[in-house]
Amino acid sequence: MCEICGCAGDAHVHIEGNILLNQSGKQIDVLHAMLHDNDHQAEHNRAHFDAAGVLVVNLMSSPGSGKTSLLEATIHALRGRLTVAVIEGDLETENDARRIRAAGAKAVQITTGNACHLDAAMVHAALHALDLQGVDILFIENVGNLVCPAAFDLGQHRNVVLLSVTEGDDKPQKYPVMFRKADLLGITKLDLLAAVGDFAPDRAAFHLRNLANAAPILEISARSGAGMASWIAWLLTEHDARQHAHKGVHIHA
């Protein structure tokens, strides 16, 4: 019997005086990652990078913290040792790709329009314009943003997050999702530390550890060269590790 109107008959709902069949839905359990398609594409990218023997680093930070300057200095420092290529992500302009090419490395620019982050499909599309033959390290310079890029796997092997001394040393506390994902934290623009005055690298380290993140923390100035030796040493170690991992795959295959 209908509880609303008391009439006999099958259950029905009342909507604006019409009688509707009270259909029951079918629940389907999915239990998939919400970004399943992106994750799938990222795994595809990673397999492609592994087959090419390339170490891929996703470089993330807020805008203006020195990602491109660090890459320019890195390309110079690695010259004659390892070949670097860069995928540049920006909302507009080809400016950063031009700077990277002027420094002597191959660069592909992705202009995302209004998109605030790169995703795995964008990186995949960029790979069609980038020959990985002879490339040892591929940097993906993500869109300057401490929020959105953290959610999207691109197929990288390592996440490097930069924090410049002209920003607050409490950024890891404010943006835990991004900083928790860092495999290395680079504190950049170290040459400005004295002028800034109130940035304490120890406090930035404290806030990073509070995210249960044991990542190495390097203090770097791309301008003065301070800390560049440690950064280059980390890259060489990571590159060697990838080469060994890759050879291991071949031996077992």
């Binding site: 109107c5 009439c7 029905h12 709902v13 009342h14 909507i15 005086g17 019409n18 009688i19 509707l20 069949l21 259909q23 839905g25 079918k26 629940q27 389907i28 359990d29 999915v30 239990l31 998939h32 990652a33 919400m34 970004l35 399943h36 398609d37 992106n38 998109a115 605030c116 982050h117 995703d119 929020v147 959105c148 953290a150 959610a151 999207f152 890891p172 506390q173 404010k174 835990p176 999702v177 991004m178 928790r180 806030h207 550890r209 509070n210 995210l211 249960a212 993140n213 044991a214």
Partner: protein, 126 residues
């Protein structure tokens, strides 16, 4: 505002499931989003109707469960509830902990209907 991109990713998956099951419409979409997923549930709920307009999901109710952030200490083994920016052991205070819950970003289930609700007649209230 990457929530729009995430909505599109969810919509794409749900529409594929609905089509696979021959559904006429999607009534409910259940998501689980942890505080360390980097997704703002409120923004997601606002954005979803925009991307779902004109699809089988246009009238779907989006439900979001939020899991608590929890860590397990690698030193003393204690499990503690934590704030997203203070992942420390509640018992011994160390940061050497492993996140065991809080970064979920999962499409849990969908509720499908075969057809639009069928009108079987005009009810007369006498």
């Amino acid at each position: 505002m990457h929530e729009l991109a995430i909505c599109e990713a969810v919509l794409c998956q749900v529409l594929a499931i609905a089509t696979e099951h021959g559904a006429g419409r999607v009534a409910r979409i259940s998501l689980e989003i942890g505080p360390l997923a980097g997704v703002e549930p409120g923004s997601l709920l606002s954005a979803f109707p925009l991307v779902a307009a004109g699809t089988l999901c246009a009238t779907a109710i989006v439900e979001i469960q939020t899991a608590a952030a929890e860590v397990e200490c690698t030193i003393c083994g204690a499990v503690s509830g934590v704030k997203p920016n203070r992942l420390l052991c509640g018992a011994c205070g160390t940061w050497r902990v492993a996140l065991i819950s809080g970064d979920e970003m999962q499409l849990r289930s969908v509720e499908l209907f075969d057809l639009e609700p069928k009108q079987i007649g005009r009810h007369l209230h006498v």
